[in-house]
């Protein structure tokens, strides 16, 4: 092992990555944990080591659980490289000389790019907020609840002035609860959960009754409802303003209402952040219940690409506790594949982990069904912008379909949508659904963007300074 060569790289230091790195290193592998943030924790435990929010009641006990994952990581001997942005994972070369089958990882750290070689990679890239394309969502003052939560965790910041929250899903309620604990102002919470979802979700309730989230979730929900104005059955939303947000307009029971607002926080669930897996060439499938693309994995998180596994929400939304267990499973399987753990040993070690994973996932189907966003919020009207980077409207996408564009990749070529710096993170799911609806087929049939590295932008200067040939690379590897 040298400075740029490890058995296993884990990408992302959220619950899945922290647990995977600790478990893999404890099993004797040389492990590097690569993470974009300066401190471990991912989004869910963001800034858990250094948040200025010292009153533990504000962020709640589930947040502080994150701190418990750090000790095992420290003790395991895994290298932790914070501030490292992974922009490429290249499959093992078929033709590598000397039988060295290595996966090459491109990363940027402290403004300089380098190539790392590993035998196995565990992608723990977590989740992204589902796009919430409503008219006016690009106005300053409108932001995702997830982004707002990051500001709270890292800087203790809450919005000042009239604040409206809108959408559905557990994270919306959690943020509302955290805001109320922190003494922030919430003028109204507009609940867009479709009424009919309750009917579909009820048969799944028995599973949810076993969920560890139930007690906590109910308590939190009741507390928010007691302290804030919650307006249910909202069927349409738009943000209005003259350069900045001024008014939130919503429809309830067929009539329109207006609320003055300086901040509108939108949220309608999270999706797997699959950009890196997709760009690596991992097969993916359409999940009809979660209404999203997810990489195809086996019981251990192994993908269709040799030596590449996934753990946590990046493989399908399961929540923080499930992610942690999935990270351990992926680590055990990687140890097995590298010859450090035999099959029986892997399976034995996995037993308690699987039991914990099952407990953590109990009730997931209920939540997925209940909080499935209504169609108008996933497939917006013609004049709504879907691709923010290139300012492409849903109407333009529909027009391209009429001209012969049959999927997101052709839409990219027709319209440039998805070609901006976000690489489709903000428009991909919407473009898929708009095209599918326009063609009258399943999203599974229209497919998803083929994403390309660098999955995060890097500077030309960094690229230019990369080692060039095999000789240069070997020199780097040996130093």
């Amino acid at each position: 092992m040298s400075g740029f060569d490890f058995d296993i790289a884990v990408v992302g230091a959220g619950p899945a990555g922290l647990a995977a790195a600790a478990r893999a290193a404890a099993g004797g592998a040389s492990v590097v944990l690569l993470d974009e943030q300066a401190e471990p924790g991912g989004q869910i435990y963001r800034a858990v080591t250094e948040t200025p929010v010292r009153d533990r009641r504000i962020l709640g006990p589930d947040y502080w659980h994150g701190a418990e994952l750090l000790g095992p990581l420290r003790d395991s001997g895994a290298a932790h490289w914070p501030g490292s942005t992974v922009w490429s994972v290249a499959r093992a070369r078929e033709d590598a000389a000397g039988g060295r089958r290595r996966i090459q990882i491109g990363l940027s750290r402290d403004g300089s790019a380098s190539l790392l070689t590993v035998r196995h990679v565990i992608l723990a890239t977590g989740a992204l907020e589902r796009p919430f394309p409503i008219p006016g969502w690009t106005l300053p003052g409108v932001l995702g609840a997830g982004a707002a939560q990051v500001l709270l965790k890292t800087s203790g910041l809450v919005p000042s002035g009239a604040t409206v929250m809108a959408g559905s899903g557990p994270l919306l309620w959690l943020l509302a609860w955290q805001y109320l604990q922190a003494g922030a102002r919430i003028d109204a919470i507009l609940d867009t959960t479709p009424r009919e979802n309750w009917r579909a979700a009820l048969p799944l309730l028995p599973g949810f009754l076993r969920s560890p989230y139930l007690g906590k979730g109910m308590k939190l929900l009741l507390e928010v409802r007691r302290k804030a104005t919650v307006i249910g059955n909202v069927t349409a939303l738009r943000a209005e303003g003259d350069g900045v947000l001024r008014t939130v307009v919503y429809t309830r029971n067929g009539s329109e209402h207006r609320l003055p607002a300086e901040t509108l926080l939108l949220h309608q669930g999270v999706l797997p952040n699959l950009n890196l897996a997709n760009a690596t060439g991992c097969a993916q499938r359409w999940d009809e219940v979660q209404r999203c693309w997810r990489p195809t994995t086996d019981d251990w998180g192994a993908t269709s690409v040799e030596g590449v596994s996934l753990a946590g929400d990046g493989a399908g939304i399961g929540g923080a506790r499930a992610a942690e267990e999935a990270g351990r499973l992926a680590a055990l399987d990687a140890l097995h594949r590298l010859g450090r753990l035999d099959r029986a040993g892997r399976d034995r070690a996995a037993e308690p982990v699987r039991a914990a994973l099952d407990r953590a996932l109990a009730g997931r189907a209920f939540l997925d069904t209940l909080y499935r966003p209504a169609e108008p919020f996933r497939v917006p009207a013609d004049d709504t912008i879907v691709c923010r980077c290139e300012e492409i409207t849903a109407g333009a996408v529909r027009e391209a379909v009429r001209l012969g564009c049959s999927g997101p990749n052709q839409a990219k070529s027709f319209l440039r949508c998805g070609m901006g710096p976000c690489q489709g993170r903000l428009c991909g799911p919407t473009v898929t659904e708009v095209i599918a609806a326009e063609r009258g087929v399943s999203p599974a049939e229209v497919g998803y963007y083929r994403l390309r590295p660098p999955v995060k932008p890097i500077t030309l200067a960094e690229l230019a300074a990369l080692p060039k040939g095999e000789a240069d690379l070997d020199a780097v590897l040996k130093h």
């Binding site: 490429s88 290249a90 499959r91 090459q104 491109g106 190539l115 060439g281 001209l403 012969g404 564009c405 049959s406 052709q410 070529s413 027709f414 440039r416 070609m419 901006g420 710096p421 690489q423 063609r439 390309r452 590295p453 660098p454 932008p457 890097i458 500077t459 030309l460 200067a461 690229l463 230019a464 300074a465 990369l466 080692p467 060039k468 040939g469 095999e470 240069d472 690379l473």
Partner: protein, 391 residues
């Protein structure tokens, strides 16, 4: 062509225009890239009924994702007559396909970094003059700076072809497809050709999705897969599958109009009207044609980035947002195969453009149509005959 064929296959996808059921084509074109679409267009303009079979979707590979250079500059001398004729079509592309294809003509420039390189470029100009072509000329330091103010100080001059330019590849290929359909051509997308056979003067083409199509004439425009079609009729060719890489930057303020290459290095550099900058030139990744997939080689992408660093100091702070590669066919002598089959009548080839076929698209379609409808063409295509590889 007195006989006509029949088609029976899966119903057409919604994007493919009219369906193919019951359609009796005169010509089947295999491959829906620019060359296949161009052949379909030129044949349709002459009233020939054409069916295009495309294994994925039109412009899925090299035709949709190439750098879009419309270049006469620096071509192999055998290609020059075709390239010059194609350039005339490009400057009237709207008349041909009812779409400007995003074509803009601000010239192409090949920069010399040393006096020796400039001398080499002048020798090239002299060679072309002797052959009767005057579209390339050398320019010195001052004119280079007038045309490309952002060029690095050490560059001493350049070769320029002033009528060259660039277009948008996917849009171009789709425009050819759309116009061909408007003139009666049909497209069947999805389903690779698995079998090609000929009996009683009629070709039968079978596809992976169970399609079975018949026509008196077949054109092989199958790009990186064309050797497999040729092999079916006993014409093996030494085709190499390559994956030329490209990258694009985030938007920067407009600073350059012409497309720029370099005499001593691999480079194609141009800025789009929206401010993004495309960097390519032919450094190769890896192609896996059976999986429709390419793998980038960042140590090579880095070579390209270094070239831009050296030649365009203004770009040093730019951000690269995406890189990719197309799947293309390269022949050992770097020039394409164009013309009739050497083993079978009523079969024509147009493939192996070796990463510089985009500009030739409009004219090669016309040549193929000439060969099919008139038995000959007025352009010199002998250097491109498929038989040149026979042992």
């Amino acid at each position: 062509m007195s006989e006509t064929g029949t088609a029976s296959g899966p119903s057409s996808s919604p994007s493919s225009g009219p369906g193919t059921a019951g359609f009796r084509p005169d010509v089947i074109v295999i491959g829906g890239g620019l060359h296949g679409c161009s052949a379909a267009l030129h044949l349709s303009m002459r009233g020939v009924r054409v069916l295009v079979l495309e294994k994925d979707h039109v412009a899925r590979h090299a035709s949709g994702v190439n750098a879009g250079g419309v270049r006469q500059l620096g071509r192999h001398v055998a290609e020059v007559p075709l390239s010059v004729a194609s350039m005339e079509l490009w400057h009237r592309i709207g008349e041909l396909v009812d779409d400007d294809c995003g074509f803009e003509s601000h010239g192409q420039i090949k920069v010399a970094e040393t006096e020796e390189e400039l001398d080499g470029l002048q020798a090239r100009v002299d060679e072309l003059r002797a052959l009767g072509f005057g579209h390339e000329e050398t320019i010195g330091r001052d004119e280079l700076r007038a045309l490309v103010p952002a060029i690095a100080d050490h560059c001493v001059g350049a070769l320029v072809s002033r009528r060259d330019g660039a277009a948008i590849p996917f849009r171009t290929t789709f425009a050819f497809r759309r116009k061909a359909i408007a003139l009666g051509a049909r497209f069947q997308e999805g389903g690779a050709v698995t079998r090609l056979s000929r009996r009683g003067g009629l070709w039968t083409v079978e596809t992976a999705e169970g399609g079975r199509f018949e026509a008196p004439v077949v054109v092989n425009c199958a790009g990186a897969w064309a050797d497999r079609i040729a092999a079916q009729v006993g014409e093996p060719v030494p085709l190499e599958v390559i994956a030329p890489m490209l990258m694009i930057t985030a938007r920067v303020p407009p600073f350059i109009k012409p497309v720029v290459g370099a005499a001593g290095r691999t480079l194609s550099f141009k800025q789009f009207p929206n401010g993004t900058v495309l960097i390519g030139g032919g450094l190769l990744g890896r192609a896996e044609r059976d999986e429709n997939r390419t793998e980038l080689d960042f140590s090579q992408v880095s070579v390209n980035a270094r070239t831009v660093w050296d030649l365009f100091p203004i770009m040093r702070g730019a951000t690269v947002v995406r890189s990719w590669a197309g799947i293309e066919a390269r022949m050992p002598d770097q020039i394409p195969v164009i013309g009739p089959s050497g083993t079978e009548p009523d079969l024509f080839h147009a493939f192996g453009f070796s990463a510089h076929g985009f500009q030739l698209g409009p004219i090669v379609g016309r040549i193929t149509a000439d060969l099919i409808t008139g038995g000959s063409t007025d352009l010199p295509i002998a250097p491109f005959r498929i038989g040149r590889f026979a042992a």
